[in-house]
Structures are given as structure tokens and as C-alpha cells.
């Protein structure tokens, strides 16, 4: 097996691993929001409420009351 063949196999395996990680990330995002552990959508408000004295949003954790509701 020469270096070119090795490179090709390395690329193939890297691709497969990265694809699996990417799909796992998709599942993680949607599952954590469904379980009420995260609320990614509220991060979208960072662009809208961007005054220097506005209250920071800070985290993708949902509001405490929403957490309660989802239990």
C-alpha cells in the first residue's frame, strides 16, 4: 500500500467519523430542546436586543419556569 492509497483511506475514515459526529450533533440539538434542557431559539434575540445596557441572554438554558413546565 503506497502513501496515496493510505491518504485515500485516511480521508474516507475521517469523512465517516466526521459525518457521524455531525449527525449526532443534529440529534443532540433537537433532543435536548425537546427534553427542555436547552432553548437555542432564544439566542436569536441577541441580534435584536443588542443595546449596550440590555440584559444579556447569556445561555441556552431555558427559563426556570419553562424548565418546570417541561418536567
Amino acid at each position: 500500500m503506497d502513501i496515496r492509497e493510505l491518504q485515500a483511506y485516511a480521508t474516507l475514515f475521517a469523512t465517516i467519523i466526521l459525518a457521524v459526529v455531525l449527525y449526532w450533533y443534529i440529534v443532540y440539538l433537537y433532543r435536548s430542546e425537546k427534553k427542555g434542557e436547552k432553548d437555542y431559539e432564544k439566542l436569536g434575540d441577541i441580534a435584536l436586543d443588542d443595546e449596550i445596557h440590555s440584559k444579556p441572554i447569556n445561555t441556552s438554558d431555558p427559563l426556570p419556569e419553562k424548565k418546570e413546565r417541561n418536567k
Binding site: R4, A8, T11, T15, L18, A19, L22, Y25, I26, L29, Y30, E33, Y40, E41, K42, L43, G44, D45, I46, A47, L48, D50, E51, I52, H53, S54, P56, I57, N58, T59, S60
Partner: protein, 488 residues
Amino acid sequence: MQSNAALEYDYTVAKLFTYTTIVFGLVGMLIGTLIAAQMAFPELNYLLGEYGTFSRLRPLHTNVVIYGFMLSGIWATGYYFMQRVLKVSMAESKLAMFLGKFHFVVYLVIATGMVVSLFMGITTTKEYAQMEWPLDILVVVVWVTWGLWMFTLIGIRREKALYISVWYYIATFLGVAMLYLFNNMEVPTYFASGGVGAITHSVSMYAGTNDAMVQWWWGHNAVAFVFTVPIVGMIYYFLPKESGQAVYSYKLSLLSFWGLMFVYLWAGGHHLLWSTVPDWVQTMASIFSVILILPSWGSAINMLLTMKGEWNQLTENPIIKFLILASTFYMLSTLEGPIQAVKSVNAIAHFTDWIPGHVHDGVLGWVAFMVFSGLYHMAPRIFKREIYSKSLIEAQFWIQTTAVVLYFTSMWIAGITQGMMWRAVDEYGNLMYSFIDTVTVLHPYYAIRALAGVLFMIGLVMFAYNMIMTMAASKKLTEEPQFRSPMA
């Protein structure tokens, strides 16, 4: 970091980059229009002796629009919105302010050096990496300074969550840093040879096919990390802010981000299809180019859906028109690119005018439109005046949209005609056409492209005039607008 009630965002550096965006836009696109006209009317090559030939001006055009206009626009908008989404002012950190200003000064030195050296014909001849080694070293200084500024600001931020646009700007910084270093590994021949030849001259450290692969790994990722990644970052901030609508799906923006990062780096080999690079590299580049449609369209569709229920703004606000058409051109361009990267299509498309056609529906329709809309949105906030003329923006929009459509349609026809004529054989297998036959056939399309260049340039002059009048003569604002930008 200090805290006081009168604290405001500091737009000093954003303003400086706004000025260079306008100046480099005018210079770069004027040269572009001239060389488009030279393709149709070759006698225009002899206006300025050696300094006016197509071969001298073409790299000047690409470098000035990419590293002058586009990078200035990316930095003008970056120095504006990064403060806002991180909720921290540059005025709060002397280091951030110093880095920002130092960044601008070194950038201006490089940009001036780039224009002068390329005019003089000093070039490495590597596409989109033509600057010679002394300037290359300064580019590293400027890039590192920008990165330090960005991470300084991130380090003192109040908003702990990094908005998606910041992710895209960080990716721009890291992606270009890595690619740039590898592609610009070069040997200054004067020093290597003990004093022979020009001091500015260098040769690449790679040879032959390896050099080509590294070159296009960089070349295509210059498209990725300069034409695409920061521009997507811009639209994720400016469209929601101008429309008052939060991004349709933040999760989709995260997925598209990682998808784009994962896929884009592998696609550069599609510039070398049917060449001496290994087959598997070509096939991989083709496949990844096609997959690239998914993250690209993910972002673009996310932007269109952000306007859900608010489409009336499209008729009322010309900045929204620019933003929406920009994301539409992004979709067109990111569908067209993968089509060209399919090996059988590439056999016809490669080396033809379809390629610059594809590039320009992306850079004019997507990148330039985003830069215009970003700066229009910023103008009332950084100059504290309303935009000078709404009707000028409307007119600019329609003139430039016509220009882009004329550009890419003429180049589609020209490119496919060219590709088909080059390959056409008679019943005995002899080539049917000589090169000059194709030139004759293509003349009308080259003339249409030159007209498109003139129209786009007219729109750009309107933009520059509107911006200058906004800075100098427009009505002062007492309060910063929250969403929609005020215009007369």
C-alpha cells in the same frame, strides 16, 4: 472594563473600514469594468502602455475587490456588530482600541503596497495569492492583529453566549490563517541564491501538481472563508436586525455552520478536475462540492424564512430588498457551483466564461449586495444621521440587479458556446473550429458583460454618493433606530 451610564459603542474603526470599502470598491470595480470592455474591444488594452494591459489589470481587479473592497466591508461590519452582539464597547478596552487602529493602519499599508506592486507587475502569479513575500509577511501581522482584537473583545464580553455571526467570523479568522500560511510558503530567490535577481521575487516551496493542489486548496477556500463564511455571518446579524425578526431557526444556523465547516475544506480539488491530481482527490472534491448545497441552502432558506409573515417589508424597505436578493443569489450561486463541479459538466465548463459568470453572480449578487446592505444599515447608527436618499437605494438596487443578471446570463451562454465549440469534431474526428472562431462568436456576449460592468459601476457610484451625503449632509438623528433604518 468600566461601567457607566453614558457608555456607548465605539465605531471609530468601523468608520475607517467603511471609507476604505467605498474607495476600494470604486477602484476595483472600475478596473473590472475596463477589463471586461477590453475582452470585447481589445484596442482598449493600449490606453496606458504596459500598465493598462489585461494581464496587468486582471490581478489588480481581483485583489482590489477581494482584499480591498470585500475585506474592508467584512471588517467594517465586524467592528460594528461584534461589539453589539457581545454587548461590550471598544471604548472599554485600551488594548482593543489599539489593536483595532493598528489593524487598520497596517492593512492600509498592505493594500497600498498591493496596488502599487501589482501595477508594477510584481507578482507570484498564483491566483488570489499574487502578493510577493514582503507583503505576505505583513498580511500575517494584520491577520493576527485582527484575531487578537476579536479575542480581546470576546474575553471582556457581557453577553456570554456567542451569537452565530461571531462563530462565522472566528471561523473566517482560523480558516484563512491556516490556509494562507500553507499556500504562501515561498523561497525569496534573492536571499536563497546569494544576491541574484530582484529582492521581491520568490518561488513556491511546492512544485508541479503539489503546488496546484495547495494553490486550489487555498484558492477555493478563499472563496469559502472570505466570500462566504463572513458574509453568512453578516446576514445572520443584519437581516434579523433590519427586519426586527429573530432568525427563523437558530438550531438550523448551528447545523449549517458545522456543515459548512466540515464540507467546504474538501472541495478545492474541483478546480483541478481532469488534471494530474489523483483520481480520488478529484472524485472527493466533486462529491463534497455537491454536498455543499445542503449547508449553503440551510443558511439561505433560514434567512428567507426569517421574513415569514413580514414579506411586506420587501416592498417597503430597499435594504431588505438587497438582503433578500443577496440570499437568493447565494442560493443560485451555491447550486451553480456544485453543478460545475460534476466531472462531466466540468469537462465542458472548465476554462470557459461560465466560470467568471458563476463567480460574479456570487460576488456581485451575494457579497457586494451584503456589503451594501450592511453599510446602509450601519450608516444611521455610526454617523447618527438618516440615510440621505431612499430613492437612490431603490434605483441602485434595480440597476445593479439588472447588471448582475446581464453578467451571468451572457457568461452562461458564452461559456457553454465556448465549451461546445472547443470540443466539436467533424465526422472524421477533426476539430471543427479554430480558437478565433470562438472569439468571433463570443463578441456580443463580451459586449453585454461590459455593459453589465458599466451598470454595476453606476450603481456603485450611487452607493458612494448616498453614503457620503449621509455622512455629510443628511438629517441628524436624536435617537438610534431600533430596527428599520431611517431614510429620506
